[in-house]
C-alpha cells in the first residue's frame, strides 16, 4: 500500500515535471519535487510535498519569503536516504540548505554553486562522497559551511578562499587530502575544522608545494 502510494506520488511527480516548465512561477516546486523523487523518506517528512500545488510554500520544511520564493529547506535530522541532485541548484533564492544528519549519499552536485543567496550549507553527518566542488566558491553570501562527517575525498578547492563572508567552516572527519588553504577566511578557522582527515597535510606553502600535495 505504502509502496504503491509512493509510486503514485512519484508518477505524479514525474508528470508534474513534464508539465511545469511553462509555469515559470513554480520552477522551485518542480526542483524540490525532482529532489524528493531521489529520496527515501520512511518518516513521511515529505508527505506534504504535494506536486499539484501551485508553489511549494505550504509544504512543510520549506520556507518561502513574501514573494513565494523558497529561502529555506530544513530537513536536518529527518532520517532521509538518497542523493542530492542538480535540481537543488535551481532554488535560486535559497538561503539555508539544512540537510544535516541524514543518509544522503553520492556527490555534492556542482550545481549547488548556483545558489548565490545561500547563507548556510549544512550537509554534515551524511554519507556524501566525491570531491568538494570548486563551484561552491561562487557562493558569495555563504557564512556557514559544514560538510563534516561525510566521506568526502580530494583536496580542498583553493577557490574557496574567495568566500569572504565565510564565518564557520567544518570539513572535519572526511577523507580529504592535500594542504589547507591559508588565505581569506581560512586564516580564521581553527584546526578542529580540518581534523580527522588523515591525508590532509597542514597549511599550504604557496608556490612550493602544490595544494593537492599528497593526494
Amino acid at each position: 500500500m505504502a509502496s504503491s502510494s509512493l509510486l503514485i506520488s512519484l508518477a505524479s511527480c514525474l508528470l508534474f515535471l513534464a508539465v511545469s516548465p511553462a509555469l515559470a512561477s513554480n520552477s522551485e516546486g518542480e526542483a524540490l519535487c525532482a529532489f524528493k523523487s531521489r529520496l527515501s523518506d520512511p518518516n513521511n517528512v515529505l508527505q506534504s510535498w504535494d506536486q499539484s500545488l501551485v508553489n511549494p510554500c505550504t509544504w512543510f520544511h520549506v520556507t518561502c519569503d513574501s514573494q513565494n520564493r523558497v529561502i529555506r529547506l530544513d530537513l536536518g535530522n529527518s532520517n532521509i536516504t538518497g542523493t542530492l541532485g542538480p535540481e537543488l541548484g535551481r532554488l535560486q533564492h535559497l538561503q539555508y540548505l539544512e540537510l544535516y544528519r541524514n543518509s544522503f549519499m553520492g556527490k555534492i552536485p556542482e550545481e549547488l554553486g548556483n545558489l548565490k543567496n545561500l547563507v548556510s550549507m549544512d550537509l554534515y553527518e551524511n554519507q556524501l562522497e566525491g570531491e568538494i566542488p570548486k563551484s561552491l566558491s561562487k557562493l558569495k553570501s555563504l557564512r556557514f559551511m559544514r560538510l563534516n562527517n561525510n566521506k568526502l575525498t580530494g583536496s580542498i578547492p583553493r577557490e574557496l578562499v574567495t568566500l569572504s563572508n565565510l564565518k564557520v567552516l567544518d570539513f572535519s572527519n572526511n577523507d580529504l587530502c592535500g594542504t589547507i588553504p591559508v588565505d581569506g577566511p581560512f586564516s580564521t578557522f581553527p584546526p578542529e575544522s580540518f581534523e580527522n582527515n588523515k591525508r590532509l597535510n597542514g597549511p599550504e606553502l604557496l608556490g612550493l608545494a602544490s595544494y593537492d600535495f599528497g593526494c
Binding site: S12, L15, F16, A18, V19, S20, P21, A22, L23, S25, N26, S48, Q51, S52, L53, V54, N55, C57, T58, F60, H61, T63, S66, Q67, N68, R72, D74, G76, N77, Y96, E98, V119, S120, R143, F144, K167, V168, T179, I180, V182, S187, P190, P191, F194, E195, K198, R199, L200, N201, G202, P203, E204, L205, L206, G207, L208, A209, F213, G214
Partner: protein, 927 residues
C-alpha cells in the same frame, strides 16, 4: 500575506494505446490454436533435439520452467509452448513470462521447414538477436521477442532473405535494451503489419524505407530517446497505418504533410519530442483519426481549422496539444469535431475567446485551456450543452465576466479550475448542483459576495480554494457538513463574522487557511476535534478571546500554526507542549499574557517560534534553550519579560535569528556569545548589563540592535565591569574574590621574581615576553633535546614567551610562537603541540625523527625539542625576511604580499609536508 495559488494543470490523461494490443491479441489467438499432434515413429526427432539444445544453454537456477521437455519423448509436440501441425512438425514455439535466463536460440534451422510463429517474450532472455534467426526460419510470420533484456543492434541481416521474400507479418522487439539504428533493410518486410520497437535504446534516424511497408498497420518506436532526425515523408506511403507512435524520442522538424495520406490512421502519438513548425492542415484528411497526441513539442502557428473541416470531424476523440508554442485564436471550426471528448491546449499562447461553437461538443469530458492568453466570458450555452464535462480547467488566462449559473448543468464535473483570471460577480450557488465536484479553485479573481452555502454540501469536495478574491460575508455553519474537505483556503478576502463551531466536524480537514480576512470572535474550542489538521493559518484577522485550554489536546498532527496579528488574549495554554509535531508557531501581535509556558520545550521539532508583540511576563523558560531544532527564528520581542537570558540558550547553536528586544531582561549576554549560527540579533531596549561579548559577530552588530540598554558596555570595556547598575552583595563578593586572587597572584609573582630574577631583566628588555605564566602546562621538569649548539635555548625563557601576543600561526596540531632567545639575540619559532593525546604524540615523534635528519636548504631547520609530562615543544629556525622571501617566491626579492606571520606558518607547514613525503610517517604530520 501574498497569494498562495493552488494547482497547476497536472496532466492525467490515461492515454489508451489499446489499439495495437487488440490487434496483436487477435493475432496471438490465431497462432495458439492447439493442433493435436501425433508422435512420429522416428526414434529421434531433430526438431526436439534442436529445442533441447537451446534449453541446455539456459541458466535455469530457479527450477526448470520447461519440465515437460523430456529428451525421451519421441516428439516435442506435447511439450509446453510447442504447437505442431498434423504431420507432427513444430509450427509454433511460444514461451511467455517464464524465467528462462539465457540467450535466444542460435540455431533453429531444424524448425525452418515448419515454424511460423516464434514467441519468446517476458522470458528474461539476454544477449543479442542472432542475425541468422530469420534466414533459418523462412516460413516465420510472427516474431515476438519483446519484454526481455536483449541487447546489441537489430541485425540488418534479419530482414534479408536469400530465397523468398520474407513472410514476417509481425515483429515485436519492444521493451528490450536494443541499441543502434533501425536497419534500412526493414523495408524488405513487405508483408509486415505490425512493427513494435518501443522502449529500447535505438538511435539514429528513421529509415525512409519504412515507406515500403505498404501493409504496415502499427508502427510504434517511441520511448527511444536517441531516435532523431525528421519523420520521413515516405511514411505517407504506409497507407495501411492505423497507429503511428514516435513519442518520447528526439525526432525533429515539422510534421510531414504526407501524414494526411493515411486514411486509416487512428492514433498519432508524437508527444514529448522535438517537433517544430505548424500542425499540417492535411491531418484533417486522415478520415479515421481519433487520437492526436502532439503535446510537449515546439509546434508553432495556429491550430488549423481544417482539422475539423474534413472527414476527421466525426472521428476525432482526443486532441492533446498542450505545451507547444501555438498561437492565434481557437478556431470556431473545432465545434464541428463533435466526437471530441478530451481537449487539452494548455500552456500555449492562444488568444481570444472560447468559440460559441464549442457548445456543439456535447461529448466533451475534459476541457483544459490553462495557461494561455484566452479572454472573454464563459458562454452559458457551452455550460448547458457540454454536460459530460468532468474537468473544466481554464485557469491562468484572461477570462472575465461572471460564472453563469448554467454551470449547474455540469453534473459530472469533478474539477473546476478558474483561478488567475478576471472573473467578477458572485460565486454562483448553482455550483452546488455539481455533486461530483472534488476540487474547486477560484483563487485570484475578483469574485464578490458570500461563499455560497451550497459549496459545503458538495459530498465529495476535498479542496476548496478561494484565495485572493473579494469575498465577504460569513462562513456559513454549513461548512460542517462538508466532511470530505481536506484543504480549505480562503485567505486574502473580506470574510467577516466568527469561525463557526461546526468547523470542528471536518474530521478530514488538514489545511485551514483563512488568513487576512475580517474574522472576529473566538477560536471555537471545537476546532480541536479536527484531528487531521496539519496547517492552520488565521493571521491578520480580528479574533478575540483566549485560546481554549483543551484546544491543543487533539491537534497532535499540527505542524504549522499561525495566529499572529489578531486580538487574542489570556495565557498561552500549557498544553502547547502536546504539539510535538509543531515546526512553526507564530503568535506574534496579539494580547497574550501570563508566562511563556515551560512546556513549550516539549515541542522538540520547533524550528520557528514567534511570540513577539504580546504582553507576556516573567522569565524566559530555560526549556526553550533545549529545543534542538530551533534554528530559523526565536522572537520574544516586545513583551514584558524579565530576568536573565537562561544559560540554556547557549544550546541554541543552530539559531539564525534571535529577537529579545523591548523587554525588561537583565543580566549579561554571555549565553549568546557561543551562538555561532546567529545572523541577526536584536537585544535592544532591555536592561542588559556587562560587556558585549568580544566575538566578531557582536563587533559587527549594528548599534541599533544593542541600544536602549543603559548598563550595557558596548566598546572599550575594562574587564572589571561589575560596577554599573548592580551595587549588590554579589558584586561585593566578586570584588572580594578579585582582591584575594590578586593578592595571591602578587605573592606568586613576587616569588617568581625572586627565583628568576637574573633571566627576567634580559627577557623584558629584549623580547617583550611577559612573566605571567598563563599556561599551567608549561611547568618543569622538561626533557630537552637540542640538535644544534647554537642558539642556546633555555626552556624557562621559551616558556614565558609562549603567549597569545607572540602567536604567529595556528597549525594543524598546534600553535606556532615567535620567541626571542636572549643569550644569542636571535629569534626562533616554537611549535607547541595542541594536546598530549596519542595521535599527537606519534606526530611529534615522527616530526622529530623526520626533520632532524632533513638537510635541505629550503627547509626550516629543526633545532630541537622539549617535552614535559603535558606539553611538547619543537624549536625551529625563525627565518629572516629575505630568506623566507626566496623560500616563498623562488628568486628572492619577491613582494611581501603575504603577511609575515602567515608565511612562517606556511614555511613550517611545508617542512612537515616534505618530511611526510620522504619518510612516510604514519600518521601524517598534521598541523
Amino acid at each position: 500575506m501574498t497569494s498562495c495559488k493552488e494547482y497547476c494543470n497536472c496532466k492525467s490523461h490515461s492515454i489508451s494505446l489499446s489499439l495495437s494490443a487488440a490487434f496483436f491479441l487477435q493475432f496471438h489467438v490465431m497462432m495458439i490454436i492447439m493442433i493435436p499432434c501425433f508422435p512420429l515413429s522416428a526414434a529421434s526427432n531433430p526438431q526436439g533435439d534442436t529445442l533441447l539444445a537451446w534449453k541446455a544453454t539456459l541458466h535455469l537456477q530457479l527450477g526448470d520452467p520447461l519440465p515437460d521437455w523430456h529428451p525421451s519423448d519421441l516428439s516435442p509436440c506435447r511439450w509446453s509452448g510447442i504447437s505442431c501441425d498434423p504431420a507432427g512438425r513444430v509450427t509454433s514455439l511460444s514461451l511467455q513470462w517464464a524465467d528462462l535466463h539465457g540467450p535466444l536460440p542460435s540455431n533453429l534451422s531444424a524448425l525452418g521447414p515448419s515454424l511460423t510463429s516464434l514467441v519468446l517474450s517476458g522470458a528474461n532472455l539476454t544477449g543479442p538477436i542472432p542475425s541468422s534467426l530469420t534466414s533459418q526460419l523462412p516460413l516465420l510470420q510472427h516474431l515476438d521477442l519483446s519484454s526481455n533484456a536483449l541487447s546489441g543492434p537489430i541485425p540488418p541481416d534479419l530482414f534479408y532473405s536469400n530465397s523468398n521474400a520474407l513472410r514476417l507479418q509481425s515483429l515485436l522487439l519492444h521493451s528490450n535494451a536494443l541499441s543502434g539504428p533501425i536497419p534500412s533493410s526493414i523495408g524488405n518486410l513487405t508483408s509486415l503489419r505490425g512493427l513494435l520497437l518501443y522502449d529500447n535504446q535505438l538511435s539514429g534516424p528513421l529509415p525512409p524505407s519504412l515507406g515500403l511497408l505498404s501493409s504496415l498497420q502499427v508502427l510504434r518506436a517511441g520511448g527511444n530517446p536517441n531516435l532523431h532526425g525528421p519523420i520521413p515523408a515516405e511514411i505517407g506511403n504506409c497507407t495501411a497505418l492505423v497507429m503511428l507512435g514516435l513519442a518520447e524520442t528526439s525526432v525533429t522538424g515539422p510534421l510531414p504533410s504526407q501524414l494526411g495520406l493515411l486514411p486509416n490512421l487512428q492514433t498519432l502519438a508524437l508527444y514529448t519530442a522535438l517537433l517544430t513548425g505548424p500542425i499540417p492542415p492535411e491531418l484533417g484528411r486522415c478520415a479515421s483519426l481519433q487520437n492526436l497526441y502532439l503535446y510537449e513539442n515546439k509546434l508553432s502557428g495556429p491550430i488549423p481549422p481544417q482539422l475539423c473541416l474534413g472527414p476527421l470531424a466525426s472521428s476525432l476523440h482526443t486532441l492533446l496539444l498542450w505545451q507547444n508554442d501555438l498561437v492565434g485564436m481557437l478556431p470556431p471550426e473545432l465545434g464541428r469535431c463533435t466526437a471530441l471528448s478530451i481537449v487539452d491546449f494548455s500552456m500555449n499562447a492562444l488568444t481570444g475567446p472560447i468559440p460559441a461553437s464549442f457548445a456543439n461538443l456535447t461529448s466533451l469530458r475534459q476541457l483544459q485551456l490553462s495557461v494561455n492568453q484566452l479572454s472573454g466570458p464563459i458562454s452559458p450555452d457551452i455550460l448547458s450543452a457540454c454536460t459530460n464535462l468532468t474537468d473544466l480547467q481554464l485557469d491562468n488566462n484572461n477570462f472575465s465576466g461572471t460564472v453563469p449559473p448554467d454551470i449547474a448543468h455540469l453534473l459530472n464535473l469533478r474539477t473546476l479550475y478558474l483561478w488567475a483570471n478576471r472573473f467578477t460577480g458572485p460565486i454562483p450557488a448553482e455550483i452546488g448542483h455539481c455533486t461530483n465536484l472534488e476540487a474547486i479553485d477560484l483563487s485570484q479573481n475578483a469574485f464578490t459576495g458570500m461563499i455560497p452555502n451550497s459549496l459545503f454540501r458538495l459530498p465529495r469536495l476535498a479542496k476548496l480554494l478561494l484565495l485572493d478574491n473579494d469575498l465577504s460575508g460569513e462562513i456559513p455553519p454549513d461548512v460542517g457538513s462538508c466532511s470530505s474537505l481536506i484543504r480549505f483556503r480562503a485567505s486574502g478576502n473580506r470574510i467577516a463574522g466568527t469561525l463557526p463551531k461546526e468547523i470542528g466536524m471536518l474530521r478530514n480537514l488538514s489545511f485551514l487557511d483563512l488568513a487576512s480576512n475580517h474574522l472576529s470572535g473566538i477560536i471555537p474550542p471545537e476546532i480541536g476535534s479536527c484531528h487531521n489538521l496539519t496547517f492552520v493559518d488565521l493571521h491578520y484577522n480580528s479574533l478575540t478571546g483566549s485560546l481554549p485550554q483543551d484546544i491543543f489536546q487533539g491537534l497532535n498532527s499540527i505542524q504549522y500554526l499561525d495566529l499572529s496579528n489578531n486580538l487574542l488574549s489570556g495565557p498561552i495554554p500549557s498544553q502547547l507542549g502536546l504539539l510535538t509535531s509543531l515546526t512553526k508557531l507564530v503568535l506574534n501581535g496579539n494580547r497574550f499574557s501570563g508566562k511563556v509556558p515551560v512546556e513549550i520545550g516539549s515541542c522538540t521539532r520547533l524550528q520557528l517560534l514567534d511570540l513577539g508583540g504580546n504582553m507576556l511576563v516573567g522569565k524566559i523558560p530555560p526549556s526553550i534553550g533545549n529545543i534542538p531544532g530551533l534554528e530559523i527564528m526565536l522572537n520574544l520581542s516586545s513583551n514584558d519579560l524579565s530576568g536573565e537570558i537562561p544559560p540554556e540558550f547557549a544550546g541554541l547553536s543552530r539559531l539564525g535569528v534571535l529577537d529579545l528586544s523591548h523587554n525588561r531582561l537583565t543580566g549579561d549576554l554571555h549565553p549568546l556569545s557561543v551562538l555561532q549560527n546567529l545572523v541577526a540579533l536584536n537585544i535592544s531596549f532591555n536592561n542588559f548589563s556587562g560587556a558585549v561579548p568580544s566575538t566578531p559577530f557582536f563587533s559587527k552588530l549594528p548599534l541599533a540592535d544593542l541600544q536602549g540598554n543603559p548598563a550595557l558596555c558596548v566598546t572599550g570595556c575594562a574587564s572589571s565591569e561589575q560596577s554599573g547598575a548592580r551595587m549588590s552583595r554579589r558584586a561585593a563578593r566578586i570584588a572580594t574574590a578579585v582582591l584575594l586572587s590578586a593578592t595571591v597572584a602578587l605573592l606568586g609573582a613576587a616569588m617568581f621574581v625572586l627565583i628568576n630574577r637574573r633571566h627576567k631583566a634580559a627577557i623584558k628588555m629584549r623580547s617583550g615576553c611577559t612573566d605571567e605564566e598563563k599556561d599551567g602546562d608549561m611547568s618543569p621538569p622538561w626533557e630537552v633535546t637540542l640538535y644544534q649548539k647554537k642558539p642556546e635555548i633555555v626552556i624557562s625563557e621559551v616558556a614565558q614567551c609562549l603567549t597569545i601576543a607572540n602567536v604567529i600561526g595556528q597549525g594543524w596540531s598546534g600553535t606556532v610562537y615567535r620567541t626571542h632567545v636572549p643569550a644569542n639575540g636571535i629569534t626562533i619559532a616554537v611549535k607547541k603541540f595542541r594536546s598530549y593525546d596519542e595521535a599527537s604524540a606519534e606526530a611529534f615523534a615522527c616530526e622529530i625523527g623526520a626533520l632532524a635528519r632533513v638537510r635541505h636548504r629550503n627547509i626550516v631547520r629543526l633545532l630541537g625539542w622539549a617535552a614535559n609530562g603535558r606539553t611538547r615543544l619543537l624549536f625551529y629556525d625563525y627565518l629572516p625576511n629575505g630568506t623566507l622571501g626566496s623560500l616563498l617566491h623562488g628568486n628572492g626579492g619577491g613582494a611581501t604580499v603575504v603577511e609575515w606571520e602567515v608565511r612562517l606558518s606556511i614555511a613550517v607547514g611545508v617542512a612537515d609536508g616534505l618530511a611526510y613525503l620522504h619518510h612516510d610517517c604514519v600518521p601524517a604530520i598534521l598541523h
